[in-house]
Symmetry: C2
Subunit: 333 residues, 2 copies
């Protein structure tokens, strides 16, 4: 009989937590007992797993010594409050909302970092944007002398939670029905509009997420000096992040080699230039990062431009965390 | 009495043509006779000007010798077919859909080029994206050793015409009402989605508009060697283009000087970092380019990032053309 692992998911009622449960089931992860945890407001709800409803309990009352593996899928404040308790109980932690300092991992980019981590292992699954970019750029490292990455991340509303998703739908209906717009979650019109930020900028004008993606990407690619510029914009899309990416190499880009490297990567689906991938049409619900619109600079052979799209909740979050768990349990057996 | 000018507008029934008529009226342009022209399908319609309805006539039958100044606001095919006739009749031409080879002008960036042009003058008002970027970057030329410009242009549907605008509304309503989606103008879902291209890419993967913006921007800034990377994406926004812009200077960016230069430019409205401009909330209907989210690189002082938004039809098109006409008539008097 296969060994099973007792697992806790903190933040089980959110979009990310529910997707985690679903991905564990889909991938036949050897789950023994599954403990779903949330704040007191969400406790009492239930989430389906393997045909049964699992009741969500309060994280405050939970004894982490009951489980081997904990996923943190609530906000950074929750990770911060409870990860120490889980660690003290000897749990392996995969943190989807970690503070700086916890090592970030994306299996396709830096799985070698799993070796030799102090136990109990506490690792982070980075932002969806960093997951997508790392999956995409890791196989290109040997074919490009990568010097600079400039990214515009067009972020889906779903990363902000259910209230934000409802607001986009409500604002859109109000506008189509020529009713007065009443922004609540957002402070202005988000329907049929683009907002150039997600969260508040710091004193230097950077968003927390922009700084986070810069440092996560350097860490994941193990390129601490890589120049990275990230602009995060909020687009009126429910699910699926998408990215324009402009790369600068120290020498001419060999497009044939780049194409071959992308095509041989298991987690990348490349779309030819007679078509293109979109968040809604391609990425959502899928386990891969879609890439298209591959082209060099208009007259600059050292430049490589592309477009990518990913299911921010699934591949960018839950699936990356479960893939990490799959690697970790090899050592836990 | 002020001298007046007899004018023709070719493409008068399109969004751009109608806005041209409106801007000429608003700015009290010394219009004498106004001839509105269109293809045979659109002829017979009428457009309001100074409280009267002006009937739109067929461009094929028009005698260009009746006017001094012609605006071409239909597609490039129409400009190509009729501009030679207008030129032969001695008309000054402002072409909003010119082929390559016609000098591009944005008053805020390169009005000096008006001097010494061969007569009759034939000039082009460039793409909306190039207008916005030129207005924005022209006052920064002396404060940055500009080496590289990387732009993601988030384009509004309105640039594609009325049929595209209706389709975004119709698709959105279908999705909100859980009716089957029937794409017609677009070949897929554009509502709540982002499409990474506008038009078909060429053999090298570049869009016509991307190539156009690169060459127009170099021309407008008189920087033929400037590295420019442009990615055009179609966002589900009716009106107003917006841009993430990442600039690289040969030395550290002086943010105070950049801010002062932007603030002293008449056609730029800068928004402080405790707020931000959006296409719908700010740019639409306005005569200025809005800029915000001004910041250097996360740890790179040679990098400058910003966000800009412009009314693509008005400031990016019709108004730029009328501003050019205002400069030209000084010489025509």
């Amino acid at each position: 009989m296969t060994q099973t692992f007792d697992i806790a998911i903190v933040g089980a009622t959110g979009t990310l937590g529910e997707t985690l449960v679903q991905v564990l089931e889909e991938r036949d992860f050897p789950v023994g007992a599954l403990h779903l945890l949330a704040s007191s407001e969400s406790a009492g709800a239930s989430v389906a797993f393997r045909g049964k409803n699992v009741r969500v309990r309060e994280v405050d009352d939970f004894n982490f010594a009951q489980v081997r593996l904990v996923f943190f899928a609530a906000g950074p404040a929750v990770s911060c409050s409870f990860s120490e308790r889980a660690r003290a109980a000897g749990c392996t932690i995969i943190d989807l909302a970690a503070d700086a300092g916890v090592p970030n991992l994306v299996p396709e980019a830096n799985s070698q970092r799993l070796t030799g981590l102090p136990t109990p292992v506490h690792i982070a699954s980075p932002s969806s944007t960093a997951v997508a970019l790392a999956v995409l750029l890791a196989p290109l490292r040997e074919h490009l002398q990568l010097q600079q990455v400039t990214v515009t991340a067009c972020l889906a509303i779903s990363a902000l939670g259910r209230e934000a998703v409802s607001e986009l739908a409500r604002q859109t209906a109000e506008l189509l029905n020529v009713r007065p717009l009443e922004p609540r979650f957002f402070d202005r019109q988000v329907a049929f509009n683009v907002l150039p930020q997600v969260g508040k900028p710091d004193a230097d004008g950077h968003l927390h997420l922009e700084r986070r993606v810069v440092s996560e990407l350097r860490e994941l690619l193990d390129m601490p000096l890589l120049k990275v510029s990230v602009s995060c914009i909020q687009v009126p899309v429910f699910f699926g992040d998408s990215f324009t990416v402009s790369l600068r190499s120290a020498g001419p880009v060999d497009l044939a080699k780049v194409t071959a490297a992308l095509d041989s990567a298991a987690s990348i689906e490349r779309v030819e230039n007679d078509d293109y991938p979109t968040p809604v049409g391609d990425a959502v619900g899928q386990d891969v990062v879609y890439v298209g619109r591959l082209r060099r600079g208009v007259d600059d052979p050292d430049e490589l431009n592309l477009w990518a799209t990913v299911d921010n909740v699934r591949k960018g979050g839950a699936l990356n965390a479960v893939q990490l768990a799959e690697l970790l349990i090899k050592d836990l057996v």
